[in-house]
């Protein structure tokens, strides 16, 4: 957010920016001044956005665009259907996120193991992270989702939803492990020295001292990855799993109209923006906390 505290801060206007950074500079304004700048912001926003709307809708091709993307009837028809299909996406990202948080942390810990004995483990973890960050997620989803069920191996699930969760977990764990690792490395070595000096084992100091502090520090970037994961669940549509994007494509094909996609976009916006604001709030709170410690 580059518009911190500026009079055009839309976050303030819609009341979502909350107690974050932008407000702090504002509190110093005398009350009359604050009301005045809020009014200016409101009027200027209405003028700019209203003007833009008038310009766009008065274009000669606008009715065509409106029919293809913003058909009210089709929107009303598709919204409940895509919302229902979104349940599959929710199941995908919730299941995957739980696994990702566990696997990512395990990889981060393995990469931090000291000593020559653990070299093979460290090497494997490094290769894992490099590989899954390099290869496009869609490819992994296709490889596992089409490839493994095609083998029809005994005892191995053929369910594409299952493999979609695994694929998303593999890809995102690589990113998330790097986030964890940065967090773990940001904890000063003196914390480990203090823990070990009390007789705690290496594992115990990680478990009770290092990781709890590290996780607290990296919650904002973890939530960012979580938002990315939510959006990437639509990639699973390529497997034929009927999730929100697949569902909307079916309606789109039947009605020759793109409005269902707009409905999907709206669903993601509604789900993601509160989470993004929450991350902003966490970051601002963190910064304020650190400032008071100095």
């Amino acid at each position: 957010m580059s518009m911190t505290g500026g009079p055009l801060d839309t976050g303030d206007l819609i009341g979502l920016a909350g107690r974050g950074g932008p407000r702090r500079s504002r509190r110093r304004l005398p009350p009359g001044e604050a009301v005045r700048s809020s009014l200016i912001a409101l009027v200027s926003t209405v003028l700019v956005l209203g003007g833009l709307a008038i310009v766009i809708t008065s274009q000669p091709n606008w009715p065509q665009v409106q029919r293809a993307f913003f058909d009210g009837q089709i929107f009303a028809y598709s919204l409940p259907l895509v919302i229902e299909a979104f349940g599959t996406n929710i199941a995908l990202f919730l299941l995957a996120e739980v696994l990702i948080l566990v696997v990512g942390l395990a990889i981060a810990v393995v990469r931090g193991l000291p000593g020559p004995v653990f070299f093979p483990l460290r090497l494997m973890a490094t290769i894992y992270v490099d590989f899954f960050r390099a290869v496009p997620g869609l490819l992994i989803i296709a490889l596992l989702g089409f490839g493994i069920p095609a083998l029809d191996l005994p005892g191995v699930p053929n369910d594409q939803f299952f493999w979609a969760v695994i694929a998303l977990t593999l890809v995102y764990s690589a990113y998330v492990s790097e986030v964890y690792r940065a967090g773990i490395e940001s904890i000063h070595w003196s914390q480990e020295a203090a823990a070990r000096s009390l007789g705690l084992s290496r594992f115990q100091s990680l478990r009770y001292v290092i990781v709890p502090q590290a996780v607290r520090r990296v919650i904002p970037p973890l939530l960012n990855d979580f938002i990315g994961l939510q959006k990437d669940t639509v990639l699973v549509s390529t497997l034929g799993v009927v999730e929100i994007f697949r569902e909307s494509s079916i309606i789109k094909a039947a009605r020759f109209n793109f409005t269902p996609y707009i409905a999907v976009a709206l669903v993601f916006v509604v789900v993601t923006i509160p989470l993004a604001r929450f991350v902003d709030w966490l970051v601002a709170r963190d910064r304020a906390g650190q400032a008071s410690n100095r």
Partner: protein
Amino acid sequence: MTASPGGAAALRIEGLHKSFGDLEVLKGIDLELAQHEVVCLIGSSGSGKSTLLRCVNLLEPIDAGRIVVEGDEITAKGIDVNRIRRRIGIVFQAYNLFPHMSVLDNVCLAPRKVLGLSRADAETRAIELLDRIGLADKRREYPDRLSGGQQQRVAIVRALAMQPDLLLLDEITSALDPELVAEVLNLIRELAGNGMTMLIATHEMSFAREIANRVCFLDGGRILETAPPAEMFSAPREERTRQFLDRVIAAGRL
């Protein structure tokens, strides 16, 4: 405190060498502490005081020499370092309290997880100790809500909660505002009175003079001179010691 087997020294260091890369920080340290003895290490920054303490607690691997605690060689191969560290407490210059835990949890963590005490037992013991330093009512606070002196006293109590045989103090007042130094030193004075064996790296010469049974002057990774405090501070044998003490006096710290 555990009884010493056959009156063995509380701590014996023999020919200790330690290098960081090409830099040899400790060049053969020999030092022995009797039970209940308080020994202060003095010397300029970089003379190896902190490194020596960290080596005794096995926080730094040593290159050569032996460290023996109450007859047990702790530098022997294959020794369980976690068991050794239970018996040796260390308090750091920067307190190193765990910022994500309350004062009480800071003190209780190791007794619970290392000694296997129940939460209730650990807390009873911790509150007793905190009460002794007058901080029992701060037990629910987080470290960043305490003054430096309070934090350092909590750090000392955290080490004491493990009932160590030996306490290592690494310039524990160096990070404190002058008016907070006294409360920490009073606690150490009390511990010495109760017979705690302590090895103390310090810049507080008047404190060393008052509390130590012996004072060691470290210079360039060696113990250049060891003497009772009265001798060390009034009639040092070595020229280097004299120069160091003159500088300290000039800086107004004695």
